[in-house]
Symmetry: C2
Subunit: 327 residues, 2 copies
């Protein structure tokens, strides 16, 4: 299984970790994304797991020369869709950083390319593989809280100093799609309900001179069956906080409530309150490799990746335009 | 200081507790609210704190006979405004259960009566006096987290079996005004910002045969200065949960984050994370008695009570009509 990596932005750790755990996989080629400088970080990352890929300056040359089975894409966010389309058109399976696109035009073009091809696609919504979130999700799927009624999800990150292109909303794509995508993904993943409409707001205030990067956002999703989902997103976590992120979800159902916070899962049901033992850690990219090999299914289907990206873009549109947006 | 009590619904515990702690106050008269049966519960409650009020069958008779300095009002929620108006027109100060009104007509009539009179008004937004919320609020006022940017607040209650009139939206007024009022109140109390618009949703699903009583609700408030506030409200807390309510607020500011949950307050700021020692418990009604006596100010001004009620009614309107409502 030949892996071609494009871009050294985002969560390539998933790729390295998955390849290291998959004896049948090797990193055959690497190249920078369209707006990136060079492949050096990819080469050194691959070397650290005893992989020796060929390095290219242009990702299309890499695709044509290496002909990877799977192309991983983690470049500047505004370039995800374009690189994805180039890979899909060549018939490669793709494992993409989220959001899949930062414009509706890019989203539609990627969707059309995917629909016209016979490839598999997944994305780096890695928090589905976080043991706490996976444990809570499986409990909900098994009926631990009955029908899902009300969800509130949080993504809070430390800001630090972000690269200049993150200050440019057109290149960055916005905090709702970048940071919020995980939490927005949880809403349809946990509930099984479909998005119907969204109302959102975001603000660049208190962004510590990061230009167009929004430091706070709040989204209100209405889903099928009168299921509601709130998502609060911020870059306001203090530098001295004990962890980079403070990811949370609370899911209230007809028969119970489940809370994920600080890596712990608490369930309240008809028996009272208890902490749940966590499921073992699994490899997000390793499972996509297995899916491509026909052995199993990843937790993140192509439909999941498109649904979440679409919801992110409509939420951002709602915040930009100050109005309710229908799905 | 003569106290007249109207109604035996809601939080009369605040009144009894405040009178017990205020030697200058006595409960002179009690009467049921317009839709209630009789004054027996009020008499027995008063007797428990060694008070022997005169009991009346009609609250207007009580007001005219006793001429209380302060009238406390905690009857069926749809009757708050009417009783408040009758008391205010007679020149009595009023300590009212929240929400002050369950219709915009009632709200406007109460507001007009209050503006035309020379009386003082406060209400039973008792969670401002909860030690954890008061501690967090004071820390925020003292700049512990810098400018407030993003708030998320939660009210979750056990449902149990509610009386029949709670099943009737016209009598009950709705879960957003009744349960949500506390959390909506925190938003302007903590931030000092004014409400600009609201988008909300609510649902009667999973309400265990409680007619029109909404079991879940989600509100999105936009406030001045691009401050955002989310409020999630539910009656889905399982019967075996360790407490009746699960009240929370998280306030993210430019310089820190403060969390109130489970009666604890956690602050993250430039020094790291720490739990805050709680302020001592204070008496909500005792402080209103002191305010009427000219000795101090209650934490809940008349303007606060009107602002919170207005925000509740507009949020409910948004949820009923499925549209953004401007303040």
């Amino acid at each position: 299984m030949k892996i071609g990596m494009v871009g050294s932005t985002g969560h390539n750790g998933y790729v390295f970790s998955g390849v290291a755990a998959s004896p049948e996989a090797s990193i055959a080629g690497v190249a920078p994304g369209p707006a990136e400088d060079g492949p050096e970080r990819l080469v050194s990352g691959a070397n650290r797991i005893d992989q020796s890929p060929k390095a290219f300056g242009d990702y299309r040359e890499m695709l044509d020369a290496v002909k990877p089975d799977i192309v991983t894409i983690a470049c500047h966010y505004a370039d995800h869709a374009q690189v994805g389309i180039e890979a899909i058109k060549r018939g490669h399976h793709v494992f993409m950083e989220k959001p899949l696109a930062t414009t509706m035009e890019g989203f539609n073009a990627l969707r059309a390319a995917f629909d016209a091809a016979d490839v598999q696609l997944s994305c780096m919504l890695g928090l589905r593989y976080d043991p706490a979130f996976m444990t809570a999700w499986r409990a909900v799927q098994h009926g631990a809280i009955g029908d899902v009624r009300l969800m509130t999800a949080q993504k809070s990150y430390k800001l630090g100093r972000r690269p200049e292109w993150n200050h440019d909303r057109d290149r960055f794509g916005g905090t709702i799609p970048w940071v919020g995508s995980h939490a927005i993904d949880w809403l349809h993943w946990f509930s099984g309900a479909a998005f119907e409409r969204v109302y959102a707001a975001h603000s660049t205030y208190a962004n510590d001179d990061h230009g167009g990067l929004e430091a706070s956002a709040l989204c209100h999703f209405t889903m099928t069956g009168e299921v509601f989902g709130g998502v609060n997103i911020d870059y306001l976590r203090p530098a001295k906080a004990p962890s980079h992120g403070d990811d949370r979800i609370r899911v209230a159902g007809a028969d119970g409530v489940i809370d994920v916070s600080g890596g712990r899962v608490e369930l309240i049901d008809g028996s009272g309150v208890r902490e749940m033992p966590l499921e073992p850690k699994r490899e997000i990219f390793g499972e996509f490799i297995d899916q491509v090999a026909g052995m199993s299914m990843s937790l993140i289907s192509a439909e999941d990746a498109f649904t979440t990206t679409h919801a992110c873009l409509l939420a951002r549109q709602s915040a930009d335009e100050g109005r309710i947006v229908q799905f």
